[in-house]
Amino acid sequence: MGVRLELETLAARAVGTASRAAGRGGGTTLPGKLLWKLDPGAVDELAAELSSGVALVSATNGKTTTTAMAARILGGGQRLAWNSAGANLLSGLASALVAARGADLGLFEVDEAALPEAIARTRPRVVSLANLFRDQLDRYGELEILAERWRAAVKTLPPDATLVVNADDPVVGDLAEGRDRVLRFGLDDPRHARPALQHAADSKYCLRCGAPYEYAAAYVGHLGDYRCPSCGHARPPLDVVARDVELVGLTGSRFTLHGPEGEVVVELSLPGLYNVYNAAAASSLAFALGASPAEVRSGLEDFSAAFGRFERIATGTKTIIVLLIKNPAAANEALRTLETGVPPVLVVALNDAIADGRDVSWIWDVDFEPLLPHVERVVASGDRAAELGLRLVYGGLPEDRLEIVPGLEEALDRGLGLVEAGTDLVVLPTYTAMLALRDVLTRRRLVKPYWEGGPA
C-alpha cells in the first residue's frame, strides 16, 4: 500500500467523522465520494487488500436485506467491509472499504446499474444476482437495458468466481448458462403460488422464442417455476431450495433450506415470501464462501431486519410497523404480508425525489385492491399524497375512509391517533419518506440514527 492511498483514506475517514459531528447525517457516502473523486483506482487497491476477497449482491429488490443476512451468517468468524446503510454506488463501496481497513471479506450490495463497474474494480469471488423487476424506469431506462448490461458484466467475471443466481427469474437464471461455477437457488412450495401472474408482471415472455411462459407456480411477480410451452425453456434444477414454507403473517416464516451439503429448518423473524427469497440468496452466497448449513441457519435466525425495510417500533401502548415500498413488485409483497390480518389503519406515504422515482406512475401497477375493502381508514401522505389518494380511490377505497395529510410527521401522528392502544399502526413509505419518518422517530428517541442501526 502506497503512502498516497494511506493519506487519501485518512483524509476520507476524517471527512466522515466531521460530517457526523456536524450533524449532517451519517456520513456514509461522503468519505467514499471524496476518495472516489480523488482516485477511483483506490477502490481496486483497497478491494485487493481483503484477504478473503469480495462478494457482491445485486437485484432490483432485496439487496439490502440479502446483504445484511449474509453479513449475519459470515460476520462471526471474520471482519467485514460492508456497506450496511445501503450506499450502493461505487462511492458507497469506497466508503465501506475506507471505514473497515484491515477487514477480511468485502460484502457489498451494488446498485443494478453500477454492477459492471463494481465487478471490474473489485474482482469478486462471488456475485449473487437475485431478480430484475421494473423499477424507476425514469432512472434506469427499461428492464431489458439493465439485463443486457448484466449479461456483459457476468462475462467479465474471473473463471474461478462463483455466480449465484435466482433460477426462478427467467432473465437472471439465464445469466448462469454455460458457466461452471454456479449456484442456482429458488423456491419450491406450490401452496404459496399466486393463482395468476400479477398485473403487469415482468419477463413473462420466453427469452428464447417469445411465447408466454406457463407457470407451474408463480411466487413473487414473475419469479417461480416457469416453462415455455413452445420451445421448452424452463427453470433449471436448483442447487439451493426453500421448501415447506410456513408464513406467519407479519411475524415471520419457517422453511426447510436444502443446500448442497444437507438441509436445515430455518425460522426467520421477517415476514413474507420475498424474505424467504432473500434468505435463499444470502444462504447461497454463504455456501459459495464455504459456510456450513448450521452457520447459515444460526445466522438467519439471529437476523432481525435491515435498515428501514421492515421495522417494528414501540411507542407507548402502540406499535408502528414500517414496511418500505419502492416499486410495484416490492410493494405487492409488502401488501401481501398484510393480507392475513388486515390492519385497521394504514399510513401510506408517496414521495417523488430521485431515490423514490420522480415518475409516480408505478403506484398504478401496485395491487392495492385486495386490501382496501378491509381497512377502516387510510392516511395518504408525502409530496404526492393527492396522487396516491386518487390511486386508492380508484382501487376501491371509499372516499370517506381516505384522509390526505401531506406532512409526514402529521400523518404519522394522525395514524397513531386513529389506532387503539395495544394495536399496530402499519406505515408504508417510499424511500425518502421512510428516511424522513425515521428522522421523526429518531428525534423522539424511538429509534437510533441509521448509521448506528436498529431500534433504540
Partner: protein, 250 residues
C-alpha cells in the same frame, strides 16, 4: 348508455397506469349513469371499425412493443376507418409511436406503423425523461393544461400540417425541439404522457367520453355534468408544479 371500449393488447402494452386510465373512464362514465364495456383485443383478435366507441392503446417496453407491432400495423385500415367514423381514441407512448407511419431504429431498420397519425418516429441517442406541462386547445377558444410524465428515446416528427395534441409549456415533447407534444386526428389523440394521465387531468377523460358517447348515440356531443374533482385538482396542481421546476429543458 353503453360505451364500448376496445383495449388493444392489454397483455403486452400495460406499462404503468394504462389500467388506471381505463378505470378513470369507467368511473367517470358510471358517475354520469353510463356503462363502459371493455373488450380486450389481443394479437389476431377481431377489430371491426364500427364495433367500438373508443379505442385505447397503451405503452410497453421495447420487447413487448416489437411483439405486437406487426399485428397493429396490419390493422391500419380498420383503425383509420373507426376514427373517420367518429370513434374516439387514446394512444399513449409506445401505442402513440406505433400509430404513426413507423419507427426508424438506430441501425436504420424501419418498423411500419398503423398510419393513423401523420408522423414518423426516429430512435434517439438519449432518453427524454421528466415531468411535462402542455397547453391544449382541442375545442377552439378553450385552452386547458395537461400535466404528465414522459420517458422516451424516440423522436416523433410531425408532418407539416399535422395537428399536435398541445404546445409544450415545460418538458421535452415530441422531439425535444419543435415545442409540440402528441398528435390529433379528429377524436383520436396520441401522446407521450404516460402513467396516470387521466386521473389528474379529468377534463381530458371527459373530452374522450363525450366523443365516445356521441359515437354511441349517433348524436352531437354534449358536455357531461361537472364532478367535484378536488383530489384530481390537487394532484394536477402538484404535478404541474413539478413540470415547472424540473421538467425537461429543450
Amino acid at each position: 348508455m353503453r360505451i364500448r371500449v376496445g383495449h388493444l393488447y392489454p397483455d403486452y402494452l400495460n406499462i404503468y397506469a394504462d389500467r388506471g386510465n381505463i378505470a378513470v373512464l369507467s368511473r367517470r362514465a358510471a358517475l354520469r349513469g353510463h356503462e363502459l364495456v371493455v373488450d380486450p383485443i389481443g394479437v389476431g383478435g377481431a377489430l371491426e371499425p364500427d364495433a367500438h366507441d373508443l379505442l385505447y392503446v397503451g405503452g410497453g417496453q421495447d420487447r413487448e412493443q416489437a411483439a405486437i407491432a406487426p399485428d397493429l400495423a396490419a390493422r391500419g385500415d380498420a383503425i383509420r376507418e373507426a376514427v373517420a367514423g367518429g370513434a374516439a381514441l387514446l394512444a399513449v407512448c409506445g401505442g402513440y409511436q406505433l400509430l404513426g407511419r413507423g419507427y426508424r431504429g438506430r441501425d436504420g431498420s424501419f418498423m411500419p406503423g398503423a398510419g393513423l397519425f401523420a408522423h414518423e418516429t426516429v430512435a434517439g441517442e438519449t432518453r427524454m425523461i421528466g415531468d411535462v406541462l402542455l397547453e391544449c386547445e382541442l375545442d377552439p377558444g378553450e385552452r386547458r393544461l395537461l400535466a404528465g410524465f414522459e420517458n422516451h428515446a424516440g423522436r416523433t416528427l410531425l408532418d407539416s400540417g399535422a395537428e399536435p395534441l398541445g404546445r409544450v409549456v415545460h418538458g421535452f415533447g415530441n422531439d425535444g425541439e419543435s415545442g409540440f407534444e402528441g398528435c390529433r386526428v379528429d377524436s383520436a389523440l396520441g401522446t407521450y404522457l404516460h402513467g396516470p394521465l387521466l386521473p389528474r387531468n379529468p377534463w381530458l377523460a371527459d373530452w374522450l367520453l363525450e366523443r365516445a358517447l356521441a359515437h354511441a348515440t349517433g348524436e352531437a356531443s354534449e358536455r357531461l355534468a361537472a364532478l367535484p374533482d378536488e383530489l384530481e385538482e390537487e394532484a394536477f396542481r402538484v404535478a404541474a408544479g413539478r413540470a415547472r421546476v424540473r421538467g425537461g429543458r429543450r
